[in-house]
Symmetry: C2
Subunit: 319 residues, 2 copies
């Protein structure tokens, strides 16, 4: 049995590939542009080329693991309609990537949030906990559930859609068209839009100095930068988003009775500016008898968590 | 190994006790007033006397199972602060009832919603499904999760609090003090209060004829009776409650990817007047990719589901 696996983190911007050993050490890594707009054929080539960059044809691997956006079938082969990947309906990544590598190694695929949760459980902030809720704050809001050391996958493998818990049946909509879902407040795209509207009433905000008036730059990092300098408008926007996140997580804790929540992804870079208010709202939304031990923890592996989790999935698959 | 067990359904109004065989046939049954206001000592005696009514001291039993309100410890012995049971902080029902029966049989306790879910899974509407969400609509709103044939209990045994999913962070509060939880709309006490307010603006409603002006009678059965006769105010109140229920269930489906929902309890007697609008809202709140197979089903065992589930827990315990 080989002690090596390849983990692939397929994102909307970049394909990250790592050669990883069982201890979670990354022995080689590469990053390629996804260029999803060029269609599935192009993206498949980028994945295959990325893997070739870190292994030789005679490398002994357990398997290749891929974390992908969108739904993944329960047999962990096929990605269904990943958002922001034009032209993808169903793509059997196991077959396509496998055959591109002359079927030397098995290829296993799972949803990016599930894979991040595995990475956290084995190598990251999730290590101390048998059960935790993973939430990834990026363009969208992904989620996954680790219960007693294993992924809780539900009936078809789609469990953990914490970004689609609705906290206001009359609220704003995210991509899936459901009012008031967590993603519609905290997903990067939506948070930036809320910030844009809010800042119209705050023309003196420091944010405008930082962005030099270019509002396409209005991402959570810019807001955090202004907030850290004491800008009250930016602070309020991030606190508002944190409140919505915490409120949604409260319902999830009440349903699962899993009390550790690990937060990863780009938006979490705003740190306690979002997570502080999220903690306050979370405690209010959890039933009084279930508040003991409830905690929100930041993932520390940052952008490596997906790659490491994908590699861990490959190790698990090999046994 | 005996083929008999005793199931006890401990409710705020009545203690129901059944002698049950492994096929789910109830061989003997008794019902006693709970009179919870007389304190734990009295209720314990009612439980013990109820069990003595259906068994002799030489009856061969697997065990006694008890479904109780409130939280139950993970070791399934002790009830913690059951609502509407004055004077109960922690009561070890296993020990107290066991010793009251001279420790002839083991006594296992679980939350009433968990026990109802077991009853449904083995003898009721849940039989065809490996996984389902159980929701019981009564004074409060209870919930439980069956996943791949087993209860999903979470970290401490409190999982499944579907009545405490919040659908509006600015909404009305139920007993636990959390705004906008499902129970604050659909729990019998709260639904009656909403009806009372709503009907103030509808003095011609048929409801007032049925109750002869006594608004303490404003329970879901009365509303259903009026609605079935075409009363639009009563129909609207039930539809409003159903919408809130369905919306909350949508978030639960998105988190669990469990798509069958079984509804039991008194309020469900209002049937499709509540469940029809609940289905519509549920479908809107579930992510488009997860709507296949989503279904709300009424439990058909009615008030026997708790007793049968408690007996099944006893059989499971004996192996």
């Amino acid at each position: 049995m080989s002690d090596l696996a390849v983990g692939v983190d397929l994102g909307g911007t970049a394909v990250k590939v790592g050669l990883v050993d069982r201890s979670g050490t990354i022995l080689a890594t590469t990053r390629r542009e996804t260029d999803a707009k060029l269609g599935p054929g192009h993206v498949l080539q980028e994945i295959i080329q990325g893997i070739r960059n870190v292994v030789d044809s005679d490398t002994q691997l357990c398997a290749v693991g891929i974390g992908a956006p969108g739904s993944v079938t329960l047999d962990r082969t096929t990605v269904i309609q990943p958002p922001n990947f034009p032209g993808w309906q169903r793509v059997n990544l196991s077959e396509e990537v496998g055959s591109g590598l002359k079927n030397r190694w098995p290829v296993i695929v799972d949803n990016d949030a599930n894979v991040a949760a595995l990475g956290s459980a084995f190598f990251g902030a999730g290590r101390p906990f048998g059960s935790f809720i993973m939430i990834t704050l990026g363009t969208g809001v992904g989620g996954a559930i680790i219960h007693e050391g294993r992924l809780f996958r539900g009936t078809t493998g789609s469990a953990g859609e914490i970004g689609h818990v609705s906290i206001d049946y009359n609220g704003p909509m995210a991509a899936a068209g459901i009012p008031g879902v967590v993603e519609a407040y905290v997903g990067q795209r939506f948070l930036s839009e809320h910030a844009r509207l809010y800042l119209k009433a705050h023309p003196d905000s420091m944010v405008f100095k930082i962005t030099e008036g270019k509002d396409y730059k209005l991402d959570p990092r810019i807001l955090a930068q202004a907030a850290e300098k004491g800008d009250s408008a930016a602070t309020e926007i991030l606190a508002w988003a944190g409140h919505k996140l915490g409120w949604g997580l409260g319902s999830v804790v009440n349903v699962l009775d899993i009390r550790k929540i690990i937060v990863g992804g780009g938006v979490s870079a705003a740190g306690d500016l979002i997570l502080g208010p999220a903690r306050t709202a979370l405690m209010q939304a959890v039933m009084p008898g279930m508040r003991d031990g409830v905690e929100i923890i930041r993932e520390t592996l940052c952008n490596k968590v997906g790659m490491l989790g994908a590699a861990q999935m490959a190790f698990d698959h090999a046994g």
